[in-house]
Symmetry: C2
């Protein structure tokens, strides 16, 4: 099972899907970024994961659909509609269908399942909750809803803190409970810890549930060589007074983790991290590199599970590279 946000998480999810038997992967996806736009219910991370698992994603951006056009968007601009969030014509069909189903009272979990089946995706994609949880970014320019911070203001405001409105009262879905019961390994994908993984962990009971799982929990660092591979993770670390490094990510997840995967560019960090570490190449440029990283993470998980049952053999897996 994987916990994922948008682009980075979706890439590793695609790798895990390729490395595992068909239908074996379950991805729990952040919905803290969801918002209403043009009167439609937009779930950016769910769509990014689905498009990547269906291999229809735009490889240039990592989000949106390959070969999409923007005819409706151009027409909306002329009608004074909001144009800061770029919805493509192909993409729009998903938002229309989802919104129609949600208005009929169908839960997001079921809506998401219908959509992924229509896209021929065999993996299970689960929203982190069926109740709304909204990521609110507290900045030096005031409190901004996630998409306003992320897209409209291009992550420019300085981040003070992040909260998840509704998380306390949101509950884990039956589908997530069931998936957690059956999980052999939990992978925290290389998504932004503050904006993509924390919302998932914030849903009522999720953190405690993960902590009590026997399955190993492995995070993959979204920071490589002092930079975020994508998005504002590094900038936020600076703004919140942290070192820009994989160690900050490992410290952030703390005792939730059984193991940590970092890039070979940061191999010297391995010593400073409190859990077993796997050093590997974490850059995912194509399906081959995504699958290779996924396989490494899966092997690492197997080692950790074995180590959980018996004392870890000397030099493994902490020192493996």
């Amino acid at each position: 099972m994987a916990l994922a946000g948008g682009v980075g998480g979706a890439k590793l999810a695609a790798g895990l899907q390729a490395a595992l038997p068909p239908g074996a992967l379950t991805v729990i996806v952040n919905t803290g970024d969801d918002f209403e736009h043009w009167g439609l219910h937009i779930c950016p991370d769910l769509d990014t994961v689905m498009y990547n698992l269906a291999s229809v994603e735009n490889p240039a951006t990592g989000w949106g659909r390959r070969g999409d056009t923007f005819t409706t968007l151009a027409a909306m601009e002329l009608l004074g509609g909001e144009d800061w969030f770029r919805l493509g014509d192909l993409d729009l069909a998903v938002h229309l269908r989802r919104t129609e189903w949600l208005r009929q009272g169908i839960h997001l979990t079921e809506v998401t399942d219908r959509l992924r089946r229509a896209f021929g995706v065999l993996s299970t994609i689960l929203p982190m909750s069926d109740q709304p949880v909204r990521t609110l970014v507290h900045t030096d320019e005031g409190d901004l809803p996630f998409q306003h911070y992320f897209v409209r203001r291009r992550c420019e405001p300085c981040v003070i803190d992040v909260t998840f409105v509704g998380a306390d009262s949101a509950t884990l879905t039956d589908a997530i409970q069931h998936a957690l019961d059956r999980a052999d390994l939990i992978v925290l994908c290389p998504s932004n810890p503050y904006l993509s993984i924390d919302p998932i962990l914030s849903v009522g009971g999720m953190r405690r549930r993960l902590r009590h799982l026997r399955a190993p929990k492995v995070a993959v660092a979204p920071i490589v060589g002092g930079r975020a591979l994508k998005g504002p993770a590094a900038k936020m670390m600076v703004e919140m007074g942290h070192e820009v490094s994989p160690r900050t990510v490992a410290d952030h997840y703390g005792d939730l983790l059984s193991g940590f995967v970092l890039d070979q560019a940061d191999a010297e960090m391995a010593e400073a991290i409190d859990v077993p570490v796997m050093v590997t190449d974490t850059i995912m440029s194509d399906l081959k590199s995504k699958t290779r990283l996924a396989q490494t993470v899966l092997d690492f998980g197997l080692q950790l599970a074995a180590g959980h049952r018996q004392p870890a053999p000397k030099g493994s897996p902490e020192t493996q590279s």
Copy 2:
């Protein structure tokens, strides 16, 4: 002022707009065809009139937008969405914007005004009511909502009757009341009398209000040479046991009319019609022919208004051609 449904009405409205000073025309438009599709509020006749007045209509169909594409529709088909009503990508922007505004509680009259301004239309376009009125077609296959009869079933079922659900409790808007007070001439456009003009007349008080107006009321026949120029008007006349002729239209409107315009192909009918008749070429193939017909209708209206004040001179306008 013009009362209009879709394509035929929109064509004459475009001619009237060209013949009158900028901003002088008001068109009251049928909303009995409105429906929800893909979770959006679709107003087919309002859009057809607006697109024609903005000169962005698809000349091949008379409805929809010129040069539109169907990318979202194709994607919706793959998602199992309804695909029997062809919404184009440019067109879609209007439905999204309208639905967004309506959900914010803005009345359809105001929404329609915002849209026509965004399209640079100087004429006023008024929905027949801000309350929902739904045309229900009673057929030998049962009761069908208008679009299901018209688009989905392609007018194939045999029509027994037509009713307008909600018409009794719907009220005339202030904008319509005000426009009626100021109207010099009321033109019943060559739209389907049963499906396009009757819904407008059925809104609470509209028929009585028109009857008491001093301004002449002139209808243009949508039947030429025993055939409907567009749509199922002729087929419906047969099914409801009427002669397929302009006379059936004139009889249908009855004492509401001050004058009637019919095509030269039906010149011999003039004698059989109870109100003053203008015979002219009513076929509208381009803006020139639309404007010419509009000018003829306007001149006829002036004559009727003059005749209302003094006895009509011999041989005019009944025998004019």
